[in-house]
Amino acid sequence: MSVTPFLVLSALLFTIGAVGVLVRRNAIVVFMCVELMFNAANLALVTFARQHGNLDGQIAAFFVMVVAAAEVVVGLAIIVTIFRTRRSASVDDASLLKY
């Protein structure tokens, strides 16, 4: 099977994730949308590995997963810290630097 449908699906998922980051206010949901974008990129990488007939793409996807896991840990810790101090998980409320 050609790789094009996989790439189109990957592009669709990435777009949906990007729109979600822009539209949603809840920090945790925004974070989930970022994860969706990571996953879309991973799908493209795995597809490219199949297209080129070597495993470099899969290695890249593997590293993306590792970095995503580390990023989730730190990001969620930051969200919990902000929630503790400001009693809100909304990204609009973390705007003290503006003033």
Partner: protein, 264 residues
């Protein structure tokens, strides 16, 4: 490639739902659908190791972490509908639509030859091939990854750590406080009485009976009292009368049937 055509619409629908639904927990569950489907697509594309890692790391660890923090931060924190930037939502959707059309058309119209496939690369096994690459060409990136993971773990610990502002109450403090409460309000020193245990009733919603026949209200949970599902002492007696009557009625009925059976 039936798997792809079944999973692709499902994934897009789940991803759209994730952005649209109001409750964050539902978003997390829809994200789980997308991630498990992705694992299947990896397996279809000759990447069994990544499929397993996807299920274990993403749906297992990352999503669990998401749900955990969601429960910690409060599941009922809904999105605020106040727009800080005017027209941001509409603009975001428009920009996303434009971006999506651009990328999807770009991907769809790219001229690519037939895929080479991974039969050659996976000849000695997918995991063996990945390991050979990981520990030769990518060994430096792999080592740096370990530093990243340690940094992330330490960072999370530092961020989640909370200094105590007041000293922790010792057992002695707690005991003294309990006696002081007893002196002030007459709160009993010992544990609260347990609910009554009767043959015909679930014990937790049944108050214990005091020697004078009244009920001990502190023996049932306040939640049950607020719901109004606590039985009163009189109600208990009624129930017993009803049970006795029904037993009598049933035995009488059975005797009638026996008689009829004997003389048809």
């Amino acid at each position: 490639m039936i798997a792809f055509w079944i999973l692709a619409p499902l994934m897009v629908a789940a991803a759209l739902g994730m952005v649209v639904v109001r409750k964050a927990v539902h978003s997390a569950l829809l994200l789980a659908v997308v991630m498990v489907s992705l694992a299947i697509l990896y397996a279809v594309q000759d990447a069994p190791f990544l499929a397993a890692v996807q299920v274990i790391v993403y749906t297992g660890a990352v999503l669990m972490l998401f749900l955990f923090v969601l429960m910690l931060v409060g599941v009922d924190t809904n999105d605020s509908l106040v727009e800080t930037l005017k027209g941001q939502r509409v603009l975001a959707v428009l920009v996303g639509l434009g971006f999506g059309v651009l990328v999807v058309l770009g991907a769809a119209q790219a001229v690519v030859g037939p895929p080479l496939g991974l039969q050659g690369a996976n000849r000695g096994g997918n995991i063996e091939g990945l390991a050979a690459l990981l520990f030769s060409d990518y060994v430096f990136a792999f080592e740096v990854t370990s530093a990243l993971l340690i940094t992330a773990a330490l960072g999370a610990m530092v961020l989640a750590h909370q200094e105590r502002l007041d000293p922790k109450p010792t057992q002695r403090d707690l005991a003294q406080q309990r006696v002081r409460d007893y002196a002030a309000t007459g709160r009993p020193l010992g544990p609260l009485p347990s609910p009554g245990v009767y043959a015909r009733h679930n014990a937790v919603d049944t108050p214990a009976l005091l020697p004078d026949g009244s009920t001990a209200d502190v023996s049932v949970s306040r939640v049950l009292q607020a719901r109004g599902s606590v039985r009163s002492a009189a109600g208990l007696a009624d129930d017993v009368d009803g049970a006795v009557q029904s037993i009598d009625g049933a035995s009488m009925h059975r005797r009638d049937e026996d008689e009829r059976g004997r003389h048809p």
